[in-house]
Subunit: 466 residues, 2 copies
C-alpha cells in the first residue's frame, strides 16, 4: 500500500472538491486544478444552477468526509412540491409519507466553497485556480492546462489523474480523440433548454412564497421551478423548447412576448420576478444534456468521475448527489484494493456504472413526469395511494421517489427497477378500476405488492432471465 | 424545382452507390467520392463482412432504382436458421411459416459493384476513387479529401453534401467537432468483436453444408455463423469477447488454443475450415458498434444517411436493408418537397429517425437472442407456436422477425413495439402454462392477440399516453 502517489484532480467543482478532500484525508498528495477563479473570492455564478437539491445520498458522502455539520447550516428543507396552476392556485404534494424525509435547497457556491476550505486545511493538498485543462496525454499521464493568469500553457504529470471536470470533461474528450481503446460514448440533448431568473427577497429579507417547498409551474410544453435561497430569494428556472411550440427561446426576445408568455402561463410568478426582461436577456440559456460513456478509466492511469463520467439532466435533483455518491462508492473500493489502481478503477466502474446509467434514465423519466403528469388526475391518485402506504407502512412501502432520494442504501438501479414496476402497477390498476385510494391501507399494500411482483416477473421471463 | 444542384456524395459503399444512382436518375449532377480504390478492379475485402443478408426492405429499394433483375442472380435464398450443437447435430428453424418468405445471402462486393456500374451509366454522375474525406466545412459545404493517388489534399464544394461514409463518417465527425449546434451523438460498442473465416467450396465447386440456411452455432458466450456464397464457399463469422470468458480474442493466439477452442465448441465447423489458424492470424478483428445521432442534417446544406447516421450491429441482418430503405424513404420525401432541401432533410429525419433507432435496438436484442436463447426450450416452443400461427393465419399473424424482415410496408418502430409485445405475451403464457403449442391454432391466435394487446395497453397507461 503506497501513499506516495501524486494525484492530479482536474476540476474543483462539487465532485472534485469532495474527492480531493477525501483523498487528502487518506494521505495522498493532491494537486487540484480548476479552470475558473476561486469562487470564494469571485462571483462566477452568472445565472447557472445557483442552487441545488441535496438529499440522502449526498449527505452520506458529507458524513464520510466529516463535514456534515458544516453542510447543515447551508440547507433549507423542502418537504414536497408546491404546484402552481395558471390561475395562481397552489397544491402541495409531499415527497414522502414518512416523517423526516425531505430534500434540501443549497447554494452551489456555498457548498463548493466549504468543500474547498476543508480541503485546503490539508498540507498534502494544493489547489491551482485559473488552470484550464485542454488535453490529457492518457498514456503518459500528462495534463496540459491553459493558465488564464500567465496566458501560457503548462503541463503537469501525475501518477494518477482523476477527471472530475464535468459534462465537458477534457479527460473524457481525450479518451474519445486518442482512440487507444473502444470508447462507448453518448451525449444526448433534450429539445428544451433552461434559463435562470430570480424572485428577490422581501424588503425585510423574507421569502415571498413558502420556502418549505420546491415550487413547480407544470405546463406540459413549459415548466418553471423555484428553489429557496438562505437570503430570502428564490432561484427560478424556466425550462422551454429552443424552437418548438408557440413560445420558445428563439421567439421570446422582446419584453412584450416575454411578459405575454408569463402572464398567460405563470401569472403569479410574473409578479414576483421584477427584473424578468433583463434577466431573460442577460442570463445564458443552458443546454440539458445526458452523458454516458464506458470505460471510465484507462489502465491504472486515469479515471473519470462525477459529471465527467455521467452527466444527467436536473429533473430528479440527483446530479450532485450521484457525484457525491461516486466518492462514497470509490472510497469503499479503495478500502479493499488500495495500492492497485487498475483494480480499483475496474471494480469502481463494475460497481457503479449500472447505477449511474439508471439515475440518468430516471432523470429523463422525471422530466416528462414533472412537465406532463404531475397535474394529471390518475397521477394524483397514484401519489395519494403512495402517501397512504408510506404513512401506514413506513418500513414496508417506498415510492420510486423515496427509493431514489431517501434510500442511500439502495443502489439507483434497484430503485429504478422496483420504482418503475410499482408505478406501472398502480397506474394500471387505477385505469382498470381495480384499486381506489379509499380502500383499506392493508388491501392497497397487498394489491400493489402483488401487481408489482407480477410485473417484475413478467419482465424477467420476457428477458429470459430464468 | 431545380435540378441544377451540384451534389457531392461522400462514400460509394452500398448506401452511397444506391443514393447516387437514384439521384442521378432524378437528374441531379452527382460527384461521388470514395476513399478506397474501385472494388470492381481491386480486391479490398480483407476479411470484413464479405456477404450480407438482403431482404424485403432492401429489395424494395432495388425495385425503386430499377435494378431488381440485376440483384436476383446474385442472391442465394436462406429459408431459416440451421442450429449446430456442440456435437455437430443440426436443427432447422424457419424464418417464417409462410411460403416465399426468405432472406438472401449476397456478396457485398458483387452488389456494390453492380450499383456502381449502374450509377456510372448516367452522364450526370462521376465517381472519384481513392479520395478519402477528412473533414467537411459544414457552413460553406466544402469537403476536404486526401487523394491516395496524388498524395495531396483536394477540396470540393457542393450545393448539397450527403455523408454516406459509414460508421466512421467524416461528415458526422465534423458535426461533432464543429459544435455549431447541439449534436446528440452516441457510439456504443459490444464487449464482443468478430472475425471472418472461410469454409471453402468442395473440389467440384459445391457447398459442403446446406446453402439453404443461415448456419448458427450458438454457445452463449460465443457464436459462429455462416452464410453461403455463389462460388460454393461460406463466409463464417466468429463472435467472441475481446477479453472476457475462458476463450477470447486476447488469449486465442496460438494454433493450439484456437483448435482446442473450436474442437470443444464448434467441432463440425473446425473440420470445414482448413486455414483456420492463418485466417485467425491474418484477418482483422472487427468491432461491433451502434451509432445514433441527431440532428442528421445541417440547415439546407448537408445530411447524413445510412451507417453514417445510424450504424447498427449485424444481428438482425438489417444494416444494409435499413440503409437501402433510407434511400426509399428519402426519395418519397423528395417527391413531395423537391427544391427545398431544408424541408426535405427535416421531414426525412422526422420520418425516419425513430425507425432507425428501433432497428438499432432490435439488432441488439437479437444479439442476445441468437447467442443465448435460440437453443432455449421455452424459446423453441415460442417459435413453434409462431410457425403454426404464420402457417394457419398467413394474413393475420406475423412474428417479430417477419414484421422486421418481410414487411417493408411496416416501419421498424411499429414492428419493434408489436413484435416485442408478442414475444413477451407468448413467453409469459408459456412460463405460466397458460398456452401450449398443441392447442388448436384458433385458440392460440386468440390468446396471443389478447395477451399482446393487454401488454401494449399496460405500457400505454404506464407511459401515461391517454
Amino acid at each position: 500500500m503506497t501513499k506516495k502517489d501524486n494525484i492530479i484532480i482536474i476540476g474543483a467543482g462539487l465532485c472534485g472538491s469532495l474527492l480531493a478532500l477525501r483523498l487528502a484525508q487518506r494521505g495522498y498528495t493532491i494537486n487540484l486544478y480548476e479552470s475558473r477563479p476561486d469562487l470564494r473570492t469571485t462571483d462566477i455564478s452568472a445565472g447557472r444552477s445557483i442552487n441545488l437539491a441535496l438529499s440522502d445520498r449526498g449527505l452520506k458522502a458529507m458524513r464520510l468526509a466529516g463535514v456534515e455539520d458544516k453542510v447543515k447550516p447551508l440547507c433549507i428543507p423542502m418537504y414536497g412540491r408546491l404546484m402552481h396552476d395558471n390561475k395562481g392556485n397552489t397544491f402541495p404534494s409531499n415527497y414522502s409519507g414518512r416523517e423526516g424525509e425531505y430534500i434540501n435547497s443549497i447554494s452551489r457556491g456555498d457548498l463548493n466553497g466549504m468543500l474547498l476550505t476543508e480541503a485546503e486545511k490539508h498540507k498534502n493538498l494544493q489547489i491551482h485556480f485559473n488552470k484550464e485543462c485542454e488535453h490529457v496525454d492518457i498514456e503518459n499521464n500528462i495534463a496540459t492546462f491553459y493558465d488564464h493568469e500567465t496566458k501560457t500553457k503548462i503541463e503537469a504529470k501525475g501518477d494518477v489523474i482523476f477527471g472530475t471536470d464535468g459534462a465537458g470533461s477534457a479527460l473524457r474528450k481525450s479518451y474519445y480523440l486518442e482512440r487507444k481503446f473502444l470508447f462507448s460514448y453518448a451525449q444526448n440533448y433534450l429539445t428544451h433548454g433552461y434559463k435562470e431568473l430570480e424572485i428577490p427577497a422581501s424588503k425585510d429579507g423574507k421569502h415571498l412564497i413558502s420556502k418549505d417547498y420546491l415550487h413547480i409551474w407544470p405546463r406540459g410544453e413549459y415548466m418553471l421551478i423555484a428553489l429557496p435561497n438562505l437570503d430570502g430569494s428564490f432561484t427560478v428556472t424556466l425550462f422551454l423548447s429552443y424552437e418548438e411550440g408557440e413560445y420558445n427561446f428563439k421567439n421570446l426576445t422582446s419584453e412584450k412576448t416575454i411578459k405575454e408568455f408569463f402572464q398567460a402561463q405563470f401569472p403569479d410568478a410574473l409578479t414576483l420576478i421584477p427584473n424578468i426582461v433583463e434577466e431573460f436577456a442577460n442570463n445564458p440559456t443552458g443546454a440539458l444534456g445526458t452523458v454516458k460513456c464506458s470505460p471510465w478509466h484507462y489502465q491504472n492511469k486515469n479515471v473519470l468521475m462525477g459529471d465527467a463520467a455521467h452527466a444527467i439532466v436536473p429533473f430528479y435533483g440527483q446530479g450532485m448527489n450521484a457525484s457525491f455518491e461516486d466518492v462514497s462508492v470509490f472510497d469503499a473500493i479503495l478500502d479493499k484494493h488500495e495500492g492497485d489502481w487498475e483494480t480499483v478503477f475496474k471494480v469502481y466502474e463494475k460497481t457503479r456504472k449500472a447505477d449511474a446509467d439508471a439515475i440518468a434514465d430516471l432523470a429523463i423519466d422525471n422530466y416528462y413526469e414533472m412537465r406532463d403528469h404531475v397535474a394529471n388526475p390518475i397521477f394524483k391518485e397514484k401519489r395519494s395511494i403512495e402517501m397512504t402506504l408510506e404513512k401506514q407502512f413506513p418500513k414496508e412501502y417506498f415510492s420510486k421517489y423515496s427509493l431514489v432520494t431517501f434510500h442511500e442504501d439502495i443502489p439507483y438501479l434497484d430503485a429504478m427497477k422496483k420504482g418503475r414496476a410499482q408505478d406501472k402497477a398502480i397506474l394500471n390498476m387505477l385505469a382498470d378500476k381495480e384499486i381506489n385510494p379509499q380502500e383499506a391501507p392493508e388491501v392497497l399494500l397487498k394489491k400493489v405488492q402483488q401487481a408489482t411482483e407480477a410485473i417484475l416477473e413478467d419482465d424477467r421471463i420476457a428477458g429470459l432471465q430464468y
